[in-house]
Symmetry: C2
């Protein structure tokens, strides 16, 4: 794994505004926190080795069968399980191959390399992040159906599905597609590690078989059950996405900063002539602001950085600080 992911607040003692992870930092999680504080004694008992009860609850809430749902310790565990399962899913000489639609989240490639898969243009497995991290782009159904012609399994990471109003591909129940979902992103709880995979029972069964017991801890399982039951509305998504577009426009108005179009709550930008690393260090040290240096995404440069929209007043602070740096 690379060590340079976003949300490295733990490296700094004084971050007051965090634009570095792709979630709104200001949502009201008091209901969930109150529930967890009443259930802390769960740390005394083993969780379910395989979180079947939560899988049944999630399956019911999305109108699927529990055999089509696998709960994981964040979408990241799902990524590694899929890479690990590749040899079982696609046995044969030489081992399975993979393709990643770049630039995107680095863990697809890290996971495939860890399990010795080979990269290729028409790989057995194709990884697509949709909406895409870090570009904010949403691919439509036609694009995805074209991909399906070239690959034996399409993995669509829909971690950001709740942060777009662009239509996501509706692929029905295709047996050669698995979809990753992130409760981390949906409910703004990256500290807990919780996600799930949906797919055909025969693929889910292979992934389940590659899992190890107790990978999802008791508090994450309890939080998941509460969230499925209460389904809290944490924000007005329309207003939030409008704020993201306002932030994009404001950043774009700064000479030397260029922000790519986005269909979600985060955006990819370039800074010139200085580097993203320099900007990041300045913002952290001088303003207590954290952004994502995006230079370690494959295909991007030292000039790329990523920010996620926050509250209007917070976004104004970011814009002001970057404007000051560029002046």
């Amino acid at each position: 794994m690379i060590e340079g992911h976003g949300d490295d607040t733990y490296r700094y003692g004084h971050i007051r505004l965090n634009f570095s992870s792709n979630i709104p930092a200001y949502t009201d999680l008091s209901g969930l926190e109150a529930h967890l504080s009443r259930h802390l004694s769960l740390i005394r008992n083993y969780p379910e080795p395989s979180p079947r009860s939560l899988e049944a609850k999630i399956a019911h809430s999305i109108g699927r069968n529990p055999s089509q749902v696998l709960v994981t310790s964040g979408a990241t565990e799902a990524i590694y399980l899929i890479a690990q399962s590749a040899r079982t899913l696609f046995p044969g000489e030489g081992g399975p191959t993979y393709t990643v639609v770049q630039p995107t989240f680095s863990e697809y490639e890290s996971a495939c390399q860890m399990f010795g898969l080979r990269e290729g243009a028409d790989g057995d497995i194709c990884w697509l992040c949709n909406p895409n991290n870090p570009t904010g782009e949403v691919r439509d159904e036609a694009y995805v159906r074209r991909l399906l012609r070239h690959h034996r399994l399409l993995v669509i990471d829909q971690s950001y599905e709740d942060y777009t109003q662009s239509p996501l591909p509706d692929l029905g129940d295709l047996t050669n597609v698995v979809v990753l979902h992130s409760m981390t992103k949906r409910y703004c709880i990256p500290g807990l590690r919780l996600g799930y995979v949906t797919g055909a029972p025969e693929v889910i069964e292979v992934l389940r078989h590659c899992g190890r017991p107790w990978s999802v801890n008791a508090l994450a399982q309890e939080a998941g059950a509460w969230l499925v039951e209460h389904s809290p509305r944490l924000l007005d998504i329309g207003a939030y996405l409008r704020e993201a577009q306002r932030l994009r426009k404001a950043l774009n108005s700064i000479p030397g900063i260029e922000v790519a179009p986005t269909q979600t709550n985060f955006m990819l930008a370039t800074i010139r002539p200085r580097t993203a690393a320099e900007l990041k260090a300045y913002l952290a040290e001088e303003h207590g602001i954290l952004i994502r240096d995006a230079s370690n995404f494959r295909g991007l440069s030292a000039h790329h950085f990523r920010v996620a929209a926050q509250r209007p007043e917070d976004d104004d602070v970011l814009v002001g600080a970057i404007r000051q740096y560029m002046a």
Copy 2:
């Protein structure tokens, strides 16, 4: 993984006494729970992808270098990382082989099989649980040094190291030994999933490289830091182990029950002529008591069960209930 581990309280709605997992269920965790309840907002941020801060704290507390410590999501993650790393540690024709000192915890074998390792008498990797689950036996240094002559890497799972007064082997800093430690067991927090591996930096580095980011969630990392700092004394181990011997003697006095000698807090017993599954069902349904049906440990029979000592008054309830069943 097998689905029949101990502590399956989640299958029952009415368990009042749990003898099925190898930890005392009555310890006072209020200090840790209070600390976590004050830090629930940690769920909002990503944890460290690799828990380096906690590794440094643990290393300092045990007088090791951080390069000799790997924090994992319970000892179970460590077991799977070791099996996954075997091909890197022992490359070559045919792949690595493994040996398990049986009967013992089933996950060593499950993990090796998952990663395609082959079983053999003088395997490259040898797995030893010490004190051993489920027998309660402690192997001495001479035994372990004999094992070292036959294997290239010895994995000693010392999850129960805090629950014995028998001396454990002191192997110094051998490069062909890794030791698994369980904060789950030491601090009675199986719901959080927290453990660590100690070993030579070159082996730890390979294991670290096989890990995925964020496998230890934010609350588990925070709990670990608090526990290392405060090192709470949760029980009088001498009194607890004396109680285990008293429980053993009391169970042994029941006709049809035979309990093997133990050097720790849990013990392996047989019931005849009926089966452990029948006894377990009776105790759960009639008494709200949970025991571990040990029939799925390799080499054991349908008549084996395991219990861990609890408080004297709780142990008396267990003895009374089993006596009633056998009458």
